[in-house]
């Protein structure tokens, strides 16, 4: 399939609803033949720690009880599974923000293996040929 431009996602939030939405975007983009670069900062990076991926990361405040229930009832695969599917499907690269890693005092070895490497912010923009989506 033709590559019609790189999708650049900067993930900041580490709540399960936003990670889920970002994973759906990534799967869709990968299915449509787009290269996706995902840059993990702050709480999103924390959520990708190998020992924390599957823990409960909560949801955004606007979800409320009703929103949380609706999300759980929908029965989507976990966001980490969707990211793995996306990687299997196409060109999806996931990078940890070097600065956020340092903030947490962790290394790439502490992260889930689906994270491909560590990038400084300039490296992310070096590859981001179009707009950046911040989630």
């Amino acid at each position: 399939m033709d590559d019609e431009g790189t999708v650049s996602l900067a993930l900041f939030s580490g709540t399960d609803d936003k990670l889920q939405a970002s994973a759906v975007l990534t799967v869709g983009a990968a299915a449509m033949g787009r290269t996706v670069n995902v840059f993990l900062q702050y709480w999103a990076l924390d959520a990708f720690r190998a020992d924390r991926v599957l823990k409960d990361h909560g949801v955004s405040p606007e979800a409320g009880e009703e929103g949380l229930r609706a999300m759980q009832d929908q029965g989507k695969p976990h966001w980490s599974d969707l990211y793995r599917q996306a990687k299997d499907l196409g060109e999806v690269h996931i990078y940890a923000c070097a600065d956020s890693l340092e903030m947490f005092g962790i290394t790439k070895d502490d992260l889930d293996p689906m994270v491909d490497g560590v990038w400084g912010v300039a490296s992310f923009f070096a590859e981001a040929t179009g707009p950046v989506t911040f989630i």
Binding site: V24, Q74, L89
Partner: protein, 80 residues
């Protein structure tokens, strides 16, 4: 004209939320051989636009979309 008898694989993705039905179809296309006719049953509203969009992009044929009671039946031919 394609009849039900020609369907080589049927995927019942009813009840699966987006992007489940599309992912199931992509998996079946990957595993299949050229000429396979794959039927996907989906109750996900997004499938109505997503499956045709993906087929157009990936270069496979949408033979027909049949509205059923509470779901749609997509019939697809693997072209390449």
């Amino acid at each position: 004209m394609t009849t039900a008898a020609e369907v080589t694989r049927s995927i019942d993705a009813r009840g699966m939320p987006c992007p489940g039905p599309l992912m199931s179809l992509i998996g079946a296309i990957r595993e299949g051989t050229v000429g396979d006719v794959i039927e996907v049953l989906s109750s996900d509203e997004g499938s109505k636009t997503d499956i045709p969009a993906w087929l157009n992009k990936a270069g496979h044929e949408l033979i027909e979309v049949v509205p059923e009671d509470g779901y749609s039946r997509f019939v697809i031919r693997k072209v390449r």
